[in-house]
């Protein structure tokens, strides 16, 4: 009787062990490994133009529309004109090197005491020669390239002498669109 009991107990133990193993197997961890790249960044370009009057330093044009002051002209007599060459440069820094700009040049506006007697116009030079009116209001600048704009001011012949020494402010707007 003792022997039978012992055998029976042993068999039960064996079954329990097998069941136990079966349950634990579902929670066993598998091998795994991980790897990652370095942190990656992407930088965007600056889309910008600069403008430079003769004898002065170039100034960056702000996308916020803030005015840039350029050196003016002096000693203009009634019935005479003066032309100022302005060099416009596409200073964008795209990695492709192909960030062109289609530039729209607005008409100049005059304010101040001489407004009624001061005529202005702006045009693109033939190369750098402002004596020749090459093209009107829009020009295309490839990245890194420049063009010369010519601002011509003419004081009317009938400007009164009382305006001698007076000044005027001339403004014009430039617009740029990515091109192509």
């Amino acid at each position: 009787m003792g022997t039978k009991t012992a055998l029976k107990t042993g068999a039960l133990l064996a079954v329990a062990a097998i069941l136990g193993l079966g349950t634990v197997q579902g929670t066993l961890a598998a091998w795994n490994a991980a790897a990652a790249s370095k942190t990656q960044t992407v930088a965007t370009a600056q889309f910008s133009l600069s403008i430079k009057a003769e004898g002065a330093a170039a100034q960056q044009l702000s996308v916020s529309g803030q005015e840039v002051s350029l050196p003016g002209t002096t000693g203009l007599l009634p019935g005479t004109s003066r032309t100022t060459a302005l060099t416009l440069t596409n200073t964008s820094d795209a990695g492709s090197g192909t960030l062109g700009a289609a530039v729209q040049v607005g008409s100049p506006r005059v304010s101040g005491a001489l407004a009624a007697y001061l005529g202005t116009d702006i045009y693109r030079a033939q190369g750098t020669d402002c004596s020749v009116d090459a093209a009107p209001s829009q020009l295309e600048l490839a990245q890194g390239k420049s063009a010369v704009l010519c601002l011509r001011t003419t004081l009317a012949g009938n400007a009164p002498a009382t305006l001698g020494g007076a000044g005027a402010k001339i403004t014009f707007a430039l617009g740029a669109t990515q091109h192509p």
Partner: protein, 174 residues
């Protein structure tokens, strides 16, 4: 004589009885050793290589100096080397972390994981599958971007991560 015989018989019987008790005497035994041989474990390794960037023309570029504009599309390629060893070794290779941009003007696509032949990575790798796999990610600066949105900025895209995980054998040893 009879007494002696009787005593001897008694003695012999007593001895015989002791022998029959058995439970306290040593029984014959023998031992032998067998060489079961060595068990060598398999292996599972994953190593990231050097990632590279290229532009739409397929030229390799340096993202720290190559500045994108609306209409640009860059591709990031990150290789990983998988090594699997073991008769029952089966594993799955997945992308665990993706590149992403918090900037709304940049579009970062989901990674595409391929083998050296450009084929999609199998759902289950075996030791014969060991080799280089590449995750490819397309980053686009849409041409429809207006104004100066996103101009002159640096965008952190994070890291791309990989996980190689063993698939449990279907017939484990018991």
């Amino acid at each position: 004589m009879n007494k002696m015989t009787k005593g001897a018989l008694a003695t012999g019987l007593g001895v015989a009885l002791l022998l029959g008790g058995g439970g306290t005497l040593a029984v014959w035994n023998s031992t032998v050793e067998a060489n079961a041989g060595k068990i060598v474990t398999g292996d599972l390794e994953l190593t990231a290589g050097q990632g590279t960037w290229s532009n739409a023309s397929g030229q390799t570029i340096d993202p720290s100096t190559y500045k994108v504009v609306p209409g640009d599309q860059l591709r990031f390629s990150q290789p990983v080397t998988v090594e699997l060893t073991g008769e029952q070794m089966r594993a799955s290779l997945t992308v665990s972390d993706k590149l992403a941009s918090s900037a709304s003007y940049l579009s970062v696509a989901n990674p595409v994981l391929t083998d050296v032949h450009g084929a999609t990575v199998p759902a289950e790798l075996v030791p014969a599958s060991s080799g280089v796999y590449t995750a490819s990610v397309l980053v686009t600066f849409p041409a429809s971007t207006t104004g100066t949105t996103g101009a002159h900025t640096t965008n952190d895209l994070g890291k791309i991560g990989f996980k190689l995980e063993q698939n449990a054998p279907t017939n484990p040893t018991s």
